[in-house]
């Protein structure tokens, strides 16, 4: 039963090798879907290309449903998987800053690596900016340390907050996704096409 590294089946060297292989798959799919071009990524914000939304949401739902089935079949112990800790203030502020960076720069950190891999110099410049941004965060950390750890709620789950079961939450999310795929396809058909 998984996760294999957590139950001691695989040691940490295997974990690094597996991460490398998974990363290759991750990068391959991102590039193949067109995430190596900022103009395609930005389309999600202007309605001319919703590829980001489609890939992102389908991936999240596939993994969610997969984890539920794996748990049901006793293939994975969900209590051992990593659940991001919630810090309200910094999660919202960080997300807002990232969204602004996305609309100005046209990439996110992972997609910029794909862009660099196929020779996009704007991706390389964005990536340089990411390193500067991380440095600036470290440099300004003493000023925001208190805010960074404020609103700590621990590893809480979204369906517990909503007071519904995991299955019901994912089911509602799937319905929402189907509706959103239909509506965004309509918006995209009406949007002025952009060539890139």
């Amino acid at each position: 039963m998984g996760p294999l590294t957590d139950i001691g089946v695989l040691n940490s060297n295997w974990e690094l090798l597996i991460a490398l292989v998974l990363g290759i798959g991750f990068g391959y799919v991102l590039e193949a879907a067109g995430f190596s071009t900022s103009r395609k990524l930005a389309g999600v914000f202007y309605g001319y290309d919703f590829v980001v939304w489609r890939v992102f949401f389908t991936a999240a739902l596939t993994a969610m449903v997969g984890l539920m089935y794996f748990s049901y079949l006793d293939w994975i112990d969900l209590s051992l998987i990593y659940v991001n800790k919630t810090f309200l203030g910094s999660a919202i502020a960080g997300g807002v800053i990232m969204g602004l960076g996305f609309i100005i720069g046209g990439f996110c950190p992972g997609t910029s690596v794909c862009a660099v891999a196929i020779g996009k110099l704007d991706g390389l410049i964005f990536l340089g900016g990411v390193f500067i941004g991380i440095f600036l965060f470290g440099a300004t950390f003493p000023l925001i340390e208190e805010f960074y750890t404020s609103g700590a709620l621990g590893s809480i789950l979204v369906y517990d907050v909503l007071g519904i079961s995991a299955g019901m939450f994912v089911f509602i999310l799937i319905l929402f996704a189907i509706v959103s795929f239909y509506l965004t396809a309509r918006i995209q058909r009406k949007a002025k096409p952009v060539r890139y």
């Binding site: 996760p3 590294t5 695989l10 690094l16 597996i18 490398l20 998974l22 990363g23 798959g25 991750f26 990068g27 391959y28 799919v29 590039e31 879907a33 190596s36 071009t37 900022s38 103009r39 914000f45 489609r54 890939v55 389908t58 991936a59 739902l61 596939t62 993994a63 984890l67 990593y82 991001n84 800790k85 910094s90 502020a93 960080g94 997300g95 800053i97 990232m98 969204g99 602004l100 720069g105 046209g106 910029s112 690596v113 794909c114 891999a117 196929i118 704007d122 340089g128 900016g129 990411v130 500067i132 941004g133 991380i134 600036l136 950390f141 590893s155 809480i156 979204v158 995991a166 952009v194």
Partner: protein, 173 residues
């Protein structure tokens, strides 16, 4: 779907499904999902430690890893992002998309794109550390594990993008 564009991309739902399976495999093998920005922080600390060790150790944010006496590059995200580069390269090579260029909308100059890319990168880098992960680690994997943090990240990143999209429309459309 992309008939107006020259290069052929994978069907987005197929791509999303495959990405979901990769993420599921990541949870099955390692107990954690996908991520990117954590690796950049580690690359950066590794370099800073060589050129300014005193600064790194005195800094609360960078120094936390040094204090834990861990090898900063012996980490799954560091290897995963290396893989993302190779995977991206392989896909670009088999699809004939390997070219050196600064890609930008015909309505803006190369210089404008370069400035926007660096400003956007700085903001994303800063925000990814404040938000404890970027679109992949905080958003995508956070959602897959059904954490509240993942859904907050999704709403905050995309919500902010839509909020500010109007002001930066000249960069893209």
């Amino acid at each position: 779907m992309d008939t107006n564009n020259a290069t052929k991309y994978m069907n987005p739902y197929l791509a999303g499904f495959l990405l979901g399976l990769i993420m599921l495999a990541a949870y099955y093998f390692t107990g954690e999902g996908l991520g990117a920005s954590g690796a950049f922080k580690r690359y950066e600390i590794a370099v800073l430690e060589k050129i300014a060790p005193a600064y790194v150790e005195s800094n609360h944010f960078f120094g936390a890893h040094i204090a834990a006496k861990e090898n900063i590059l012996e980490n799954r995200l560091v290897y995963m992002v290396l893989g993302v580069f190779f995977g991206g390269f392989i896909s670009g090579a088999v699809s004939g998309r390997l070219t050196f260029k600064v890609e930008h909308s015909p309505k803006i100059t190369k210089k404008t794109r370069v400035i926007a890319a660096i400003v956007g990168g700085i903001l994303f880098g800063y925000g990814s550390q404040m938000g404890r992960g970027c679109t992949s680690g905080s958003g995508l994997s956070g959602m897959a594990s059904l954490s509240l943090a993942g859904f907050i990240a999704l709403f905050a990143i995309f919500g902010s993008g839509y909020l500010f999209a109007y002001f930066f429309r000249k960069l893209w459309i």
